[in-house]
Amino acid sequence: MATALPVRAQVPAAGQATKQHASWSPYDDNGGTVVAVAGDDYCIVAASTRMSTGYSILTRNKSKILRLNPKCVVASAGMQADMETLHKMLHSRHVTYQFNHRRPMSCPATAQLLSNTLYYKRFFPYYTFNLCAGLDDEGRGAVYTYDAIGSYERVGYGCQGSGKELIQPVLDNQLKAASPLVLPQQQWLSSLPLEQAVDLVKGAFVSAGERDIYTGDDVEILIITKDGIRTDSLQLKRD
């Protein structure tokens, strides 16, 4: 390491004084929205498939969901390169876990692993906003929501990414979460039947697609039940 901080102004590189040139940032926001809703015996995970940078659409069909096993998935919005790496990392860790324990990783265990993986890069974070969702050991729906550096919390439903501000209040209103401050603790799982919950998620995405330029094209929907993962999809506007 250098012993002293460089004083940039005193060492102008050739041409630097007058010319403006390309600069770069290690981060980019590729947009996208992910939503998860937990029910008594199901969990719905949905993610838009548009990938953008600035005002440009890069591609209309990029999955944001990592399927680890039939009871647990991770969905991430934010920067695609970090997301891809994070997902590959989790995949490798999951394979190793299965070699060592001879069973798939449970959803709560994956949630803790994701937190540790994110915090491991505390000082050069993955620019990803994640949801870990699936069924817990009792077969109930589980959703874990994160910030970029690994703080996490189990919730009844969650939303991350560019459409978060548009969708989260709708979910709050429709799913009526009991305050975590109320004692004795209230049931926070969605009491909606599965089909209604899927409709709610679809409606939320259609709404977000109207106002958020980073949410559009298609929505990939996974419905996780004890029988496995069923997929559904929804077309959004391609504008």
């Binding site: 590959k88 995949h91 490798s92 394979v95 190793t96 070699f99």
Partner: protein, 290 residues
């Protein structure tokens, strides 16, 4: 116990041009229980006899999954096998991380062989005391490889290693021409027949053996206990016809008539031998796979 004055370390040649330490390592493979591997045009199959070190213990695992498209069967020092297994798993994971694709079998087998070779050329190391049959499926179809402690590796249509594997090899040599077109079920049955041939001191049951299958249309899958039972039952039915000829070791030399008569009697003989002088075979050396 010294066999001669040239076997004290791995960097010393004998005047005959041999390196005894390597040959001793290859002997260790022969002391583990038998494992066979064979392939058809679509699938590769591994089968092993599992031993339990004592009545109080469970059976020792002999087949390990490496990745979705390959696995290994080991014979010899289980501890060395575990190290190689971990190495192979890591290489496959790294390959998937970088290239997003399964690792070609031949490449990994070669890396393992290079690793094993190091142990035969460094004064401060020792060769691995374990043989690996690598079974898998990649772009170029199904494969069976054998990795030897010497650092050699071989591509096989069918192979057997471990205690009394000669009998299994004999079975495979007689049957291998039918393997290419065989169905997966037939392939598993062939594997079990070969195992049965090398298991003279007892019955093949779903407890004391395990089978693994892999192919282009299916990931590496271990068959044990309940999922293996139907195959065991199936070969038990065919047994009188098929197994009789395979009973004794070095069966190639024996006449058909002798084999036909030898069914039950041959087995008894072998059992005697096992009880009398078999102590060395089963080892008893602590680190040896039981």
């Amino acid at each position: 116990m010294f066999r001669n004055q040239y076997d004290q370390d791995v960097t010393t040649w004998s005047p005959q041009g041999r390196i005894f330490q390597i040959e001793y390592a290859m002997e260790a493979v022969k002391q583990g229980s038998a494992a066979v591997g064979l392939k058809s045009g679509e699938h590769a199959v591994l089968a092993t006899i599992k031993r339990a070190p004592s009545d109080l213990s469970s059976y020792q695992r002999k087949i390990f999954k490496i990745d979705d498209h390959m696995g290994i069967a080991i014979s010899g020092l289980t501890a060395d096998g575990r190290i190689l297994c971990r190495y192979m798993r890591n290489e496959c994971l790294n390959h998937r991380f970088v290239y997003d694709s399964p690792m070609p079998l031949g490449r990994l087998v070669r890396q393992v062989a290079d690793k094993a070779q190091l142990g035969t050329q460094r004064s401060w190391k020792r060769p691995y005391g374990v043989g690996l049959i690598v079974a898998g499926h990649d772009e170029s179809g199904p494969h069976i490889f054998y990795n030897c402690p010497s650092g050699n590796y071989y591509d096989y249509k069918a192979f057997a290693m471990g205690a009394r594997s000669q009998a299994a090899k004999t079975y495979l040599e007689r049957q291998f021409e039918t393997f290419a077109a065989a169905s997966l079920d037939d392939l598993v049955k062939h594997a079990l027949h070969a195992l049965q041939a090398s298991l003279q001191d007892g019955e093949l049951t779903e407890k004391n053996c395990s089978v693994a299958v892999v192919g282009g249309d299916m990931p590496f899958t271990l068959l044990e206990d309940d999922s293996l039972a139907p195959y065991i039952a199936a070969i038990k039915e065919e047994e009188p016809a098929a197994a009789a000829g395979m009973e004794a070791e070095g069966a190639a030399a024996e006449g058909d008539a002798a084999a036909g008569e030898g069914g039950a009697a041959g087995e008894g003989e072998q059992q005697q031998e096992q009880q009398g002088g078999g102590g060395g075979d089963d080892g008893g050396e602590a680190p040896m796979e039981q």
